[in-house]
Symmetry: D2
Subunit: 365 residues, 4 copies
């Protein structure tokens, strides 16, 4: 069963393995007439590139996007946009040892059980490099959303025990700190925490927050295609994410109704909410206020300390993983969260176009 497609109307299909020839994505369903070129996409890919800081793997990949179709004279044509990134820094030898055993916390065992064998080089299809296609497509979605003044912003909220202080919020720091934290002080603390983890041959997890501004009220659906249900799937489909929440999320469960309900008020002739515990979505449909999501990311499973596992011969063994691994997944996953959120919102925007007869009459007068 095809499992590499995401979206209903704006559909993407990603492909590629960590150590194959290339990775990429095909975007099908992007509206015609959107100005678009590779400079809209490359900056997103650069944000997920390895080798930029001491807290990311020293592996270096150029990760340059090539757009192969779907654009003519600088605008989308309405036909599929195919993009690829060549793999350039493959050291398959690094991985030959892991062919024979199952790394704890990885998909090695489950791939073998599902498919009968696996491309063990660098995790194959379950590698973080799989997200290249998502990020390239997410950049297109973000470009489309910008036409409607919708802006998606993700950042690191916490790494291990270190959380940002929202009163220090510094948007620029998302792109300049190695942690992608919008708080320089917290970022420095997190770097220190990660240095400690690395010294202990260990790794850390953390939380990514995503805020989406400018979404008009009315996107989403009342039942299975709820906007929060789709965002939840979008984020949980990112490797290493173990929990997703909207608005107050887990905390809502311990509040009372009188605390959790957001009052409606008139402001400047418009309906607004006095608070936003709901995180911008009511009954699965956007309510016009900021959408707020959080993804909880587990610690990097590849750690250098010894671990117990089994090999394909069915023997208990002890292993020590080598190679090049990020001590924390969070900073490089920030742009992936942003990409998946942008794709989900853009798809909802398109899905909503025919929700009422009066919309259609604007198009077919």
């Amino acid at each position: 069963m095809a499992g590499s497609k995401f979206g209903n109307i704006l559909q993407i299909t990603t492909w590629g393995e960590s150590h194959g020839a290339a990775l990429g994505v095909v975007i099908d369903g992007c509206p015609a007439g959107l100005t678009l070129n590779s400079s809209d996409i490359q900056p997103y890919l650069d944000r997920r590139k390895p080798g930029r800081t001491k807290i990311s793997t020293p592996r270096r990949e150029a990760d340059e996007v090539e757009i192969l179709s779907g654009i003519f004279e600088g605008r989308t044509t309405g036909t599929p946009i195919s993009m690829l990134v060549r793999n350039t820094s493959q050291h398959s030898a690094d991985y030959s040892e892991i062919a024979g055993y199952y790394r704890p916390g990885h998909a090695d065992y489950t791939f073998d059980e599902k498919f009968g064998f696996r491309d063990y080089r660098g995790g194959g299809r379950s590698s973080g490099r799989e997200t290249i296609g998502r990020v390239a497509a997410g950049a297109v979605a973000a470009r489309l959303l910008s036409e409607f003044h919708i802006c998606v912003t993700a950042y690191t909220k916490s790494i291990g025990p270190v959380s940002i202080d929202m009163s220090h919020f510094d948007r620029d720091a998302i792109l300049t700190t190695p942690t992608c934290m919008p708080d320089l002080q917290a970022s420095a603390q997190a770097e220190q925490y990660l240095a400690d983890c690395m010294a202990a041959y260990d790794s850390a997890g953390g939380v990514i927050e995503c805020v989406i501004d400018g979404v008009p009220a009315g996107l989403g659906d009342p039942v299975f295609e709820k906007l929060d249900a789709n965002l939840s799937k979008a984020l949980m489909s990112i490797g290493a994410v173990k929990a997703v929440e909207i608005g107050d999320g887990t905390e809502a469960a311990s509040l009372r109704g009188s605390q959790n309900n957001d009052a409606f008020r008139m402001k400047g002739g418009k309906v607004v909410k006095a608070t936003n515990h709901a995180g911008g979505i009511l009954g699965g449909i956007s309510d016009g206020s900021r959408i707020i999501l959080r993804a909880y990311v587990k610690p990097t499973p590849s750690i250098f300390s010894p671990q117990q596992t089994v090999n394909q011969a069915g023997e208990d063994i002890e292993i020590s993983i080598k190679g090049r691994h990020d001590p924390v997944i969070v900073p490089r996953a920030v742009v992936v969260v942003e990409a998946m959120s942008a794709l989900t919102i853009a798809d909802a925007l398109l899905m909503n176009a025919g929700a009422k007869l009066e919309n259609l009459k604007k198009i077919y007068p």
Copy 2:
């Protein structure tokens, strides 16, 4: 855009409004040859029925399922199974007042924004009664899974500040306590907490846990159709759910890799995991251990204390909601979580059938 369909191969489409003539579901893609009758389904519907306890709305509905198609001589035929439940206890007059304003925490405003108007009677399509179709379909999925010795069990883990003690775990209590807690002592405490909430014209939230036993390793997919991504969407599509987690979930984010990784070990000639922080899913694919999920449910938005809101004339007003409402959604949502989880696992089972050539050769020798 169609938003009432769930599933890839085992597809369900639910329909119906709180105060319409009936609600129901069509299940398309159920394999032929499964013994099935209404006694497999009615007990699930009875678990979500209102009016059974003092902590649920006194509204009484028979909620008797009628199977209209897809079964012949006691077995599924492989064609669509259509089931419906007639509405019998509609008091539309109760709801006439709310036609003119937007209840905080409800979908009234967002429906109006999306569709231009709404069926305001009892929440229409966003009513909890919409889950009747899900539960009826989930019962069929559970019946199918039982053929493969897969068992899905959900229960209330906490209500407000009261959590169950796993050392008291009493499976029978799920079906006998009004809270659906598998812990008689915690249930009694939770009932007291809910009585306090009701006395204060307020409501409570809580957490539902779901465990799935017997899932073979290998179900799910490496990228967008990850088993946890689909379970996440399944649970987040239930009204009032604000967060979903798998295994250690949010806590994984603050653990180190050495704490969070589950070691593989050989046991009785089989690969097992020494711990289960992952919650039974690695890289989006089941690993053969118990799958563990949690859904965080917000407090019932319909509370009897005064609230601020706006009316359709665009005026700030104060309202006091009347009618019949549960002080907590959690107990009646337990069977919905179970149903959605069963549907997701059953779909994954079917999706996986063609994952490898050797499976197909067993079918087409």
Copy 3:
């Protein structure tokens, strides 16, 4: 795998067997705000009803539609529209004999091979009664299309050797002749031909033509979702249809390019075509001229003369089918062709809403 769903955005799921409790359809994705009631639907169902003329089975079914959801105060709400028709004239005993053997030209054998067993009563799911759901849904699609001045008209073009003469075209006759031919003279001849077939214990086939007026240029897609590809699937999915053609269809294969190309011309400030060999679709996309389709329908397989077949015990036998059967399927399939065409065009209209950025800007200014 679910096989009872049709459409991408306007999705229908039909359900029900010939001799089950009821048959029906769920329409998901119909835009909100369309005025609709059962009087829009019943006339379509009446057109496919048996027992109206001497050339249709004397079996009588009321076939009264009940709308169960999706409409509030006379308008569609944007949520699923569920409709059902109860079966009232089942004589299961009539069919008990056919449980044991395979009727030539029917799906008995293939159902057994696919599903392991079958609901043999009246053909079960492969009965012509399955089209009740299609026709009810098609009536809704036609109602939606009428808002955009799009009109779908199907009629019988030929029965056996008798074809209509387009110079006699009489639109009213479609609804008044037992043959659904828009030519009174041809209809009388066809009735005579059918009387001869019946006297010979035999049956006839024929051709249904469908014309669609008012479709704006631009609907459809360049590759797999070509408008003609979807219409082709729509019509070929009707039982007994063995060929489908667009415009000149099969004849185009023997023409030269200079004969088959339609010249473009300006007329009243608009681009029009001087001829319409293409049948209104170029490159899979509507060109603004009339869409013309034809479905070729095989003769009724249930004939009363003796036939050779095998039974489930694997023995060669000779059978004589009894019961109530139409000597020709065509007249009752006319409204089914109209319904499937309307559903396809309505879906294309919705799919096209987001085809270009300028459309979306009209909706989200």
Copy 4:
């Protein structure tokens, strides 16, 4: 709306324009463990390549396939197979003139109406080169089907007035004649006919027949996913196809039931049919006999004789098309018909895997 995806479980997404950087396809859902390499695919692409004979355009393209993902150590991994073909022989200048007007019989006008503008170079996405992705994917499907002894064979049945004589059937000639006719004598006559067309600055159409052997009984579905409905869509989605038929097709409409029904008989302990008017499909499900399809192809719309049309300024003009064009589309479309048929059958094979409980029990014992 995404329109470049085909298939339910075995899904392909094609991309690319005639004069873009490359064209390609992503196959998602191919089972793991299939031995596959580029030598399985290149021969199919070579069959659709231009420039091989005097009746195809002298444009020369290498059309060499590059497989970028989804294969490891010579076997499919169950993850997406991405393939691309670089464009090498683009002369965009040839096409600059056509940017300003609408070629009769082409999609120029309809693209402009749908998308607001178009990539006019060589037809852009509506070029015959779009089929490269289909053919590459079809080769993979054919490779998969060969594991189950299913064989798809298409050939030219007629060109203009020249039809093959089935008593001369010569399978090898399909690959060796420029017409792809399996009849050397007819092929020579067709070549002469095409020479006449070219001398008259005109073009020809024709008919492609496709036979599929080895399909087990039971594939397909009773309602919308009928095997013939999906084959019909598959073939009608190929540019220039104007009619599709199964078995006796259009002729069935003028037969009587006693002539058209195929008797079942026992033969060697198996159920067989004495005749095959149905073309191997009954009630939408394969019956175990040969599947027979026909696609009717219109004459090449690009002809060199003068034609009337309009330009984008809205003026009536006369044009003479220049450039490199095949006088007949049929021979190069033969392998496309084969590819689309193979994809449809392979998808049906996968869809059928979970049709009955006993199949699933073979996989999950």
